[in-house]
């Protein structure tokens, strides 16, 4: 049995009794399964369908009562309004999107580097008490960040780092340490000890082993951590609203969107839907192309995998 849960999930799997042709009862259950799967699929897709079709109806033709109706003709004007704003809809999303992309990429890269080093030590160079330290790390992954938020805001204000977007890079790097360490540790645990045993004598060889053996094998784990940190920082609202919420100049995708859809623009449903869709696109695209790695991060977060 493989220990890699993602492989288990995504491998071609068939445990039906396929020696015989399906009898009537089995055929019924197969049809039942497909109908149920399709029904759930329909429910899962519905909200994003509503988002997409209502972003194509233009600025003014979007009403609650025709929420499910396809547009009569395609009209992309809501996209340009949501992206760059107009006189009646001044809060555009473009600046916040660029800003978010800027800080999210940096925090993901730094997190991955730190996670890789930590994971290497926790998997292959255990020191006295390292398991306890690791468990204490993990607790940091589950805490509600509200419990550290007020002091954190105070530190950021005192040091005046809350005037720059780097405050969010810092926050996501710091509070990303546990999950990133965990993902890399689990990945490195699976690398056979024999592979590194030979050189395993002193400090110098520790770095050499990392560079010459571990690092070249780490690409999949880096992908997992990079997209995990990318997605969670992109979708984060809590740190953003507490650390930069007071300043429109530092608004990120989620805080800007919340401001737009929560403000008096309620009438411009089409633009609101479009802005939400635009904000969702980067993480959706990452998921579409690298879903497998996303799933791996997700399962790590549950301490399984």
């Amino acid at each position: 049995m493989s220990h890699d849960l993602v492989d288990l999930i995504t491998a071609k799997h068939d445990v039906r009794n396929k020696k015989r042709k399906l009898n009537g009862k089995e055929r019924f259950w197969l049809i039942f399964r497909y109908v149920s799967l399709a029904f759930i699929w329909f429910l899962v897709v519905m909200p994003i369908y509503v988002m997409v079709i209502n972003s194509l109806k233009g600025v003014k033709n979007v009403y609650l009562t025709n929420a499910f109706k396809l547009p009569e003709k395609l009209d992309f004007s809501a996209w340009s309004v949501a992206w760059s704003g107009t006189d009646y809809f001044p809060q555009s999303i473009s600046d916040s999107m660029t800003r978010t992309l800027f800080f999210v990429i940096q925090s993901a890269i730094i997190s991955a580097i730190i996670g890789s080093i930590n994971g290497y030590v926790f998997a292959k160079w255990k020191f006295k008490g390292s398991n306890l330290v690791f468990t204490l790390f993990l607790f940091g992954m589950f805490i509600p960040y509200q419990a550290i938020m007020i002091p954190l805001v105070r530190i950021a204000t005192t040091l005046e780092i809350n005037k720059s977007i780097y405050v969010l890079v810092l926050a996501h790097v710091i509070y990303g340490i546990p999950i990133c360490t965990l993902i890399f540790r689990n990945y490195y645990e699976a690398i056979p000890n024999e592979l590194i045993e030979a050189g395993r004598v002193d400090k110098a060889s520790m770095i050499r082993i990392y560079r010459s053996i571990i690092l070249p094998l780490s690409v999949p784990a880096f992908v997992v951590v990079l997209i995990w940190q990318f997605t969670s920082a992109w979708n984060d609202f809590l740190f953003a609203i507490f650390l930069t919420g007071g300043s429109p100049k530092l608004s990120v995708a989620t805080t800007a969107l919340n401001f737009i859809t929560g403000s008096s623009n309620q009438v411009y449903y089409g633009v609101n839907m479009t802005a939400s869709l635009i904000v969702s696109l980067p993480t959706l695209i990452v998921y579409i192309f690298l879903g497998r790695y996303f799933l791996r991060g997700l399962l790590s977060g549950s301490l399984k995998g």
Binding site: H13, D14, F139, M206, S280
Partner: protein, 303 residues
């Protein structure tokens, strides 16, 4: 190599490892544990930036005040309602999804990919849509779910959803279930597929029916997975914040503990109260998560 030099070397290698993680350890000690202690400290004072009076320690007053605070108890009872419906709903939905897929079926990858995509989108973005879909307008004004219900002849089920006085939190659980069922699916699917096929095969040879195989062979094997699912859903639920904000802002009817903490901190600038609420939330989550971490730690030791 003599034994003593070997010991010395391996010792230096061990401390070497510690050296590399030391920056992270210090960071975690300061920014996780240190700031929690700081928060606890603030919660024991009368600190709020609105008043100019000197900061004094007031003991547990902020906590006892919370018990008497109608808004806090309201947000706590909202959270309980939300948690119960959300956990049950996501558990059942995700489990059904896993049951439908676990045997392997043509098109599995297609369904699985779609079932998991909501996990990649922010609550804030989905909030815009759910704010709409769960709109309370009815009959000819209806849109979203109320309209859909009319169309399929279930018009009597039309509802006020998240603005209703009694059912607001149950309505709030729907988008949460929508977003998180995929996670449950992934965990259960991994659970099902971790069970060796031989067990199923052996039961089949012994003449067990398919439903007996599920009932007596497969389900008992999923107990650890069930535990994980409950812990994960539980802590996500107790932290519910952006999901609520995204759909209904800070409205009183749907206020939960995390949202009330935000309001106390941001709007009332009452930091002592804000930290007290946050610490209560932390304790609630710790009660669920710490035993899980210990259990997990023991499991690791056996590997």
């Amino acid at each position: 190599m003599s034994k003593s030099t070997q010991n010395r070397r391996s010792l230096s290698a061990r401390t070497g490892g510690l050296l590399f993680v030391l920056p992270s350890i210090i960071t975690v000690i300061i920014f996780v544990y240190g700031l929690i202690i700081w928060s606890v400290n603030v919660s024991l004072t009368n600190q709020n930036s609105g008043s100019k009076k000197a900061i004094e320690y007031v003991g547990l007053k902020n906590y006892t005040d919370l018990i008497a605070d109608e808004r806090f108890t309201h947000s706590l009872s909202n959270l309980v309602k939300f948690t119960v419906v959300f956990i049950l709903g996501a558990l059942i939905t995700g489990f059904i999804m896993a049951l439908l897929l676990e045997k392997g079926i043509k098109g599995e990858g297609f369904f699985r990919s779609f079932y998991l995509y909501p996990m990649a989108i922010s609550f804030i973005a989905m909030g815009t849509v759910f704010n709409w879909l769960l709109n309370s307008a009815r009959d000819e004004d209806a849109g979203g779910l109320n309209l859909a219900l009319q169309k399929i002849g279930l018009g009597f089920l039309q509802n006020d959803w998240y603005v209703s006085e009694k059912g607001a939190m149950y309505a709030m659980a729907l988008p949460a279930i929508w977003q998180m069922s995929g996670y449950v699916l992934a965990l259960f699917l991994a659970g099902f597929r971790g069970i060796p096929d031989d067990m199923r095969e052996a039961a089949r040879v012994d003449g067990a029916t398919e439903s007996q195989i599920y009932r007596y062979v497969l389900f008992p094997q999923l107990t650890p997975t069930l535990l994980t699912v409950l812990i994960i859903l539980g802590h996500i639920s107790m932290k519910a914040f952006d999901l609520i904000i995204g759909i209904n802002g800070k409205s009183y009817v749907t206020q939960v503990v995390a949202v009330y903490m935000w309001e106390a901190t941001f709007d009332s600038r009452d930091y002592a109260k804000g930290t007290a609420i946050a610490i209560v939330l932390l304790i609630m989550i710790a009660i669920v998560v710490v035993p899980y971490l210990r259990y997990n730690n023991k499991q690791q030791a056996y590997r």
